[in-house]
Amino acid sequence: MYKPIVSRLISIVPVLFVVSIVVFSLLYLTPGDPALVIAGPNANAEDVEKIREALGLNESFLVRYVSWLVDIARLDFGNSVMNGTPVIDLIAQRIEPTLSMMFLTIIFAVVVAVPLGVLAAAKVNTVADRLVMLFAISAFSVPVFIIGYVLARVFALEARWFPVQGYAYLADGVVPWLRHLVLPSVALGLVYIALIARITRAAMLEVLSEDYIRTARAKGLRSKRILFLHALRNASNPIVTVIGVGVALLIGGAVVTESVFGIPGLGRLTIDAILRRDYPVIQGIMLLFSLVYVLVNLLIDIFYVVLDPRIRY
């Protein structure tokens, strides 16, 4: 049981290496002198030189990359070019809203999507199935910010059930926290629900055609019991996998959703940093999000090895 876990653990090393190279190289995409671009048209030569020094632009790629990696290993992500605040502090200030929103979204989405997928598979080719599939295509086709604005318009601006914008910290009470996160989580969750429901349906359809399901039916077991106990358990591998892979979708969506609902999270920090070309902040956030994605998927895979000893990596 330990061997596959160890080899899966080792497999994240090259992935993180590639991520770090890509994130680091982004700076070199800027045409011309990045320091000049960051400093803006009104800066004097001294400021430009200061920025160049701060970014280490006077050294070679390799030297800079290695020293950057060493710093990161010591959890030093550098300072914001704009106001000198350490990147890690900026991230720490903004992480709660984003994590809260993503956490609620995942729970909400899984709770809705899995039963929907099971229902569609159990009633394949009926109206219920068609409706679920139609919902799934529609959710894939509407950008998350449109869903956000429509929800905000209907349920906040007109019905006044939820606040239109902003965020309430968890420390100030669970109820306001939840009230601020309901609409963003639903908006963000729809595409994720569509993804999970589709995979659930496909995986269930495959399992439902197997012999042991027929045996269970022949034995006279109730069909709900067959669906949720026998079939869903055996269909769970691709479902859990897509929940993990979909986290990447969720991260991208979170950046946009925060902007729609005025939530002061990492997404807003990302957009501000990108519009101001604040490289250390951009790099820090991209590293963090990629690490979250890699770790979530690592945990899911390890969880699976523990549950199902047939799996090898």
Partner: protein
């Protein structure tokens, strides 16, 4: 394998393909003929007429600069469709190339797949907006950025089918009988990766249009001087609480177009690749 003609007939009997393809065709024709469909210059500003409601003169109303929204939505659709289509072609082409190499050559496979795993670990939206923001916004850079973030998925797909095709008896027979590698790839491998690839290209088309909208919405996409559905919505968002219509029109067209493409993708998948799960 089906003959070409029976394939066409099957396609025309598939409701997803006919409805999705029909809507897409209609939208494309409308956009191609945009200059003759009662549009005015989508860039002409007229501050006196700003944020007008829809009327017989301005069918969709006007935006915050007094520009005609109907014209902007029609011209914007050209850019959005162009970006989606270009990304689908480019990502499929390069993904196919890299995937073939990866699936066929063991040593290259190790390196390529690690790079692809790494690229896939960076959320696509982040990678694309970071790239365009740093490169300077232009339609070409938007296309490049989205393409880079879509390539890994194609590579994985192609590599997967190459690996399984290599195990087939007829491919092994060709290898044993000394057929040259390029011939094997072109004659035996390539034609069989085609079906899932077409389906994937359709989904990429749709996803790229959504991505363009997201990037422009954030402010790291198509430059404001060129209307696209994404940046029309982005400019309208400041007024979303009072003038919702400015967002609704481009959003409705964008969603309809993406919906029709996705629907076509589902239909094509049922037709060409019935065994695939998704």
């Amino acid at each position: 394998m089906h003959s070409n003609r029976s394939m066409w007939r099957a396609a025309l009997r598939n409701p997803s393909i006919t409805v999705g393809g029909g809507i897409l065709l209609l939208i494309t024709i409308v956009f191609l003929f945009a200059p003759w469909l009662g549009t005015v210059d989508p860039l002409t500003m007229n501050p006196v007429n700003r944020t007008l409601d829809p009327s017989s003169k301005h069918w969709f109303g006007t935006d915050t600069y007094g520009r005609d929204l109907y014209s902007r939505v029609l011209y914007g659709g050209r850019i959005s469709l162009f970006i989606g289509f270009s990304v689908a072609i480019l990502a499929t082409f390069f993904g196919l190339l890299i995937g073939l190499v990866s699936g066929y050559f063991r040593i290259a496979d190790m390196i390529i797949m690690r790079i692809m795993d790494g690229l896939m670990s960076i959320p696509a939206v982040l990678l694309a907006i970071a790239m365009t923001a740093l490169m300077r916004g232009s339609v070409l850079n938007v296309i490049l950025a989205i393409t880079v973030s879509e390539i890994p998925r194609v590579v994985r797909l192609v590599r997967g089918s190459v690996l399984s095709l290599r195990e087939r008896t007829y491919v092994e027979a060709a290898m044993v009988s000394g057929t040259r590698t390029p011939t094997i790839i072109v004659r035996h491998i390539l034609p069989n990766t085609f079906a899932p690839l077409v389906v994937q290209a359709t989904y990429i088309f749709a996803a790229a249009m959504i991505m363009e909208a997201i990037m422009s919405f954030i402010g790291a996409g198509t430059p404001p001087s060129i209307p696209s559905w994404g940046n029309i919505i982005a400019e309208g968002r400041v007024l979303w609480q009072v003038k919702f219509m400015i967002i609704v029109f481009p959003a409705a067209f964008l969603s309809l177009a993406v919906f029709s493409i996705n629907m076509m993708g589902d239909g094509l998948r049922d037709l060409l690749d019935p065994k695939s799960p998704r």
